[in-house]
Symmetry: C2
Subunit: 394 residues, 2 copies
């Protein structure tokens, strides 16, 4: 068989994470590779009650086609319960429901990027976003980070060099993969730059509500004067990913563009999932559930960082995340984390090598560790084994 | 606000159908516009039982992330229960689950079409497919149809003129919008052409199982020697659309390409929907449910066609569909069905004007009527009112 695919088909490669996840599905593997929420926290009883009602009382709507924008009561709940408390001034008309926030990323690439256009992002950045944008063959300009997130002076320098930049992509809270958080001042400055230069900022915020300590910071969109900031949200980390409910929060004119794209892409998100999520949020307080998640993840983060301190060679550097799911490890520059991962897999421990988080390559001495998925005893045991592997190289 | 969108963003327009559906949501409107399955046939009690079990017994998986390819037991059920009986030789590895079959269409455009590439399709063709492909800015070549579907001699002529054609798109069974079905001989010939010329055929088959009478014909893919035919299936018409479960059935190498695209597009279809669909198909026989749908739709088709015979001007032509959801009306050439639709809306009747089903325009004297959604009394009343509107012009 010889098929002539589109040029863009050649720009996509398999996600290293999702390929790796297949390897790590053996039950004996202690996996710090995924970004999975802890399934034991899913509120199954409550979801079951809600789902019962949805199907028996509202089944004709829940199983039927619906509008592309999304189920209006859910759009309203998202605006009022999730976006407004993040100090974003919006109504349901500023919300479009997506099939997880990965879809919001892909639509953003589709909406803004021609071949060769420049997209700026943090260095490192989220692999799924890099892959979503890559199919449109842009040029990535990586902006260095420090402990306060993307360094805005570096962004400004890059924008001077590339004034035609089409899009800026950022994960301001507990960034995937670095675990770093952008400071208040930088959020404000970034929104100002977006408005001044008329460049859209894609603010990807799936983890923002999972803050373990310190002061909650407003979204970048809070500082957005004219509507150049597009915020992507998701219930995958605060509720459950299997429903595939994410959203785009943006200026109404921009939402309308996303709606046109979604119409052609898949018509609509699952009606059942949307109505079930809405009923849940009407009957229960999602904030209570988020508090439970936070208390479990905080304990796991503490345990992981304590274990790293205890078992890792003292020279290994890693970040201290104030929330979210990940910490980020930097090894000596001559070490390759892909090889370390192979060694770790031999003792049934897995993580994601850092190289794929850099769209322009390099940085193979880094890796990402997830602490949300594994139970406490496995975290300690896994880090201990990983420490033994690392010590061979130090 | 001034934003620089991608060039491709300018190629998409709002779907006339989905915009129209918003207008027709007033309860007093008798709408023949949508392509909605009859919601009163959804097996709510059974789905509720299944959903209960899925969430309480399998909730950790059903609400968690899952693989991009789809839930393996569902892929297997689709291969064995839906594709093999359609005489397609396949296993679960030939199936990827999509978020409705609209997503399979969009992915097909993404996978095969560069700007300016030629895609051949029936004239008229499915509006949702036209919109899905349009974002990749291809050139559409429309192939005329007769009562046996796409005229293969015309296709051959067009392929001689455009040997670089990248893709052929067809809906062989009870086509949307025309209601026409491709003959056995033409299916065979089309598969041969695809294999000889190495051009992929996208066989869109959401209605194939809804045959009211006559002999069931094998899929085009049944005649596919080397793997140039890609069949898109869906549970939206045979089960329920709100779950958003469709699939791509293709050669393994092609499925792998679709998987890469889905990974970047939205990671995966809803885990809950997939597991619930699988459990339903394990516990109940979907064929029994399809038989119920068929008996109701057949009655509605008969009633609609009888009413058209009775109330429409004798000169008006329309198709006799042996299954599916639609009949297709041709008015005198000087009449514009958009204007007729406006007049019909004044008496609370709606349909979809035919123009948008022709990617290169024209043919405004046609329209599509759906008979699956409205209950019997409304079909008669709606066609009667529509007949009165039409008679003003004859």
């Amino acid at each position: 068989m010889e098929l002539r695919y589109s040029d863009r088909a050649s720009y996509v490669k398999a996600s290293e994470i999702r390929e790796l996840l297949k390897l790590t599905q053996r039950p004996e593997v202690i996996s710090f590779a995924g970004g999975l929420p802890a399934p034991e926290l899913f509120p199954l009883e409550q979801i079951n009650k809600v789902m019962n009602k949805v199907i028996l009382e509202d089944g004709h709507a829940a199983l039927q086609y619906a509008t592309t924008e999304g189920y209006n009561p859910l759009r309203k709940i998202i605006a009022e319960q999730r976006m407004q408390p993040n100090r974003i001034d919006c109504t349901y008309e500023n919300i479009m429901i997506t099939n997880g926030s990965q879809q919001g990323l892909e639509f953003s690439g589709k909406l803004f990027l021609n071949e060769g256009d420049i997209v700026m992002c943090e260095s490192p950045s989220y692999l799924g976003a890099i892959n979503a944008f890559k199919i449109y063959n842009p040029k990535f300009v990586e902006i260095p980070m420090d402990e306060n997130g993307m360094i805005i002076e570096e962004l400004e320098k890059a924008l001077e060099k590339y004034p035609e930049t089409k899009m800026i992509y950022t994960i301001p809270d507990f960034q995937n993969p670095s675990g770093k958080t952008m400071s208040l001042e930088r959020r404000k400055k970034l929104a100002e730059i977006a408005n001044e230069k008329k460049i859209p900022v894609i603010e990807d915020s799936p983890y923002g509500e999972l803050r373990f300590e310190g002061e909650k910071l407003p979204c970048i969109k809070h500082f957005d004067a004219e509507g150049y900031v597009i915020t992507l949200g998701s219930f995958s980390k605060t509720f459950c990913p299997g429903l595939r409910i994410g959203w785009v929060c943006a200026h109404k004119d921009i939402v309308n563009k996303y709606v046109l794209i979604k119409q052609g892409a898949d018509l609509q998100a699952s009606s059942v999932s949307q109505i079930a999520a809405a009923r849940f949020m009407e009957e229960y307080d999602l904030n209570d559930h988020i508090q439970k998640i936070i208390s479990v993840y905080k304990k796991r983060r503490d345990l992981m960082l304590d274990s790293m301190k205890k078992y890792f060679p003292a020279e290994v550097k890693y970040t201290y995340p104030e929330g979210g799911l990940f910490t980020w490890v930097e090894l000596r520059e001559d070490l390759d984390s892909r090889e370390i991962n192979m060694e770790a897999l031999e003792v049934n421990v897995a993580f994601v090598p850092g190289g794929s988080f850099f769209p322009n390559g390099g940085n193979n001495n880094t890796f990402r560790l997830n602490y949300s998925t594994m139970p406490e005893d496995k975290i300690v045991e896994g880090i201990k084994r990983l420490g033994e592997v690392l010590k061979r190289h130090y």
